[in-house]
């Protein structure tokens, strides 16, 4: 499941690379699509070369690649999140819902710690936090999909106070946050994979 999930995440990011870059040009420095795609393509290559034997193993390998290949803000953020998720998943071969939710909680906490960011600052946290909270409150995968999309779109009206968009002050309002959009792919693909496998 984890391999399928990250594979689809990578594919979606690749497909939307230009879109992410355009969003980052509006409020940042225009490299978010490039950064994410560089790392995730490497994740794909690695998964083919040395398939990990547990979901935790898959995620851990992806974390290492994010840290060492992505760079920028998104590299350490996704990297730290995935690293914590991997730790929480351990090396069990099957992961059940609760454990996954718990792992994602560790992930979002890692992002908030590393990025010193809270909800409402127009960053990827604004997708991660509502998504994880929904799962914690027992939302279905179907419901998660809607919540993630809404959370993503909510960043439009926010004023950025963290990340590069913060330099724009009020001019950051009216744009989607690129990291929130890539994070929405992360959760949407997860929901997809989980629904299909359930």
């Amino acid at each position: 499941m984890a391999a399928e999930w990250l594979k689809r995440f990578a594919e979606t990011v690749e497909k939307n690379k230009e879109e992410l870059t355009k969003l980052d040009q509006a409020v940042g420095d225009g490299d978010h699509g490039i950064n994410m795609n560089r790392g995730l393509q490497e994740v794909l290559r690695k998964m083919e070369e040395v398939p990990a034997d547990s979901p935790g193993g898959v995620v851990k390998a992806a974390a290492m690649i994010c840290i060492s290949k992505v760079g920028g803000a998104s590299g350490p953020l996704y990297g730290s999140a995935l690293m914590k998720i991997a730790s929480a998943l351990g090396d069990e071969e099957d992961v059940e819902g609760k454990q996954l939710t718990k792992a994602l909680r560790d992930g979002v906490d890692a992002i908030k710690k590393r990025g010193r960011a809270e909800e409402g600052e127009k960053t990827m946290v604004d997708v991660w936090e509502p998504a994880v909270q929904a799962l914690e409150q027992g939302s279905s995968w179907q419901e998660l999909t809607e919540i993630v999309k809404k959370a993503r779109d909510n960043t439009i009206d926010m004023k950025a106070t963290k990340g590069r968009a913060a330099y724009l002050g009020d001019r950051s309002i009216g744009h989607l946050d690129p990291g929130a959009v890539s994070s929405s792919y992360f959760f949407l693909e997860l929901a997809c994979v989980m629904e299909e496998s359930s």
């Binding site: 803000a73 350490p76 590069r164």
Partner: protein, 334 residues
């Protein structure tokens, strides 16, 4: 996009090879990394100074590796912070036993990646300290946000902390010196045209023929205000006023001035601007101990300029004028 290169995905790799080829008397590339270190690294008994960041700001930072400035520069992809493993390699290569100072420009990505590298180095018992440069007064200074960006003022940090390290100061002293520079240095820039990240292929923003952007960052980040084109004099006054609002230079103060072309602004225009800045400083009775003009912290082929003022104290001035011999900045001992 019209660029002289071979492959957009290889541009940093190719560039680092070119820098190593051109400046082989100064520096070498650590194999399989994006790190340039001083030819003879580590320098024993000297605090090592490591800086770096996304590429596209050349000569920063590789051009400042050498005597009296940096021990290593870590290059990320274009406009993208380097990753922790690369920074860690740099730290290991330059630690001469007296510890290592990281000079970080204040961007979330840079801060996080360098911090992770510092954690890795500390785990290996290397003494690492860091300073974060945030000289860009275009951005509001607020403790609720990630704060101000680091831009061209970083060059003064390299120069002056580098002189401190070269003179044998210990890690705390070098860090203190760097922090003093950071405290006394303020910058602001503007641009007339955007730049194109090679892998993106399209400009980061667009400006009409009669527009300029005030307060642009060095990564093509949009600025804080868009106006119709101002003259050099008007631009100088606008940037000076913003910098001065923060720096409060007094009549009789001594200052160092750094005029930084962002990429495609010709030296001709930079010197016109220099003349206007000098006039304003003279008006205010500020003594210009040093005026540095050229390209130091660029933004690919962006047209534009930034103004950096450093308020000098006698100790900073002494270190500013200390000998330096690097590819991009050389200074004879006075």
């Amino acid at each position: 996009m019209k660029k002289l290169l071979n492959n957009v995905d290889q541009v940093v790799e190719d560039m680092l090879n070119g820098m190593a080829a051109a400046h082989s008397t100064y520096l070498r590339r650590l194999q399989n990394t994006t790190v340039l270190v001083r030819k003879q690294s580590p320098v024993n008994g000297k605090v090592g100074i490591v800086s770096g960041g996304g590429s596209g700001h050349e000569p920063a930072h590789g051009g400042f590796v050498g005597k009296g400035m940096l021990d290593a520069a870590v290059a990320g992809e274009v406009f993208t912070s380097p990753t922790p493993d690369q920074v860690f390699e740099a730290i290991k290569a330059v630690d001469g036993g007296k510890g290592v100072l990281l000079v970080i420009k204040n961007y979330t990505g840079d801060v996080m990646n360098f911090e992770m590298a510092a954690e890795m180095a500390e785990a290996e018992g290397i003494n690492v300290q860091q300073v974060v440069v945030n000289d860009d007064v275009a951005v509001e200074d607020s403790s609720f946000t990630s704060g101000r960006r680091g831009i061209a003022g970083t060059v003064f940090v390299h120069k002056i902390a580098g002189a401190a390290a070269e003179s044998g100061a210990d890690l705390d002293e070098v860090k203190e010196t760097a922090e003093k520079v950071i405290h006394h240095v303020k910058s602001m820039g503007m641009s007339l045209s955007p730049c194109i990240v090679p892998a993106a292929g399209t400009p980061g923003f667009e400006l009409a023929e009669n527009e300029m952007e005030i307060g642009t960052g060095i990564h093509g980040e949009p600025g804080v205000e868009r106006t119709s084109i101002l003259s050099s004099k008007e631009t100088a006054r606008l940037l000076f006023d913003k910098v001065q609002d923060d720096l409060h230079l007094q009549k009789g103060d001594r200052a160092a001035v750094l005029i930084n072309g962002l990429g495609s602004t010709p030296l001709m225009e930079q010197y016109v601007f220099t003349s206007d800045v000098k006039e304003i400083l003279d008006e205010h009775g500020i003594e210009t101990a040093d005026v540095i003009v050229g390209e130091w912290m660029t933004s690919l082929e962006m047209a534009g300029i930034s103004l950096t003022l450093l308020k000098l104290t006698p100790d900073l001035e002494e270190k500013l004028f200390a000998e330096a011999d690097t590819p991009a900045m050389k200074r004879f001992a006075k």
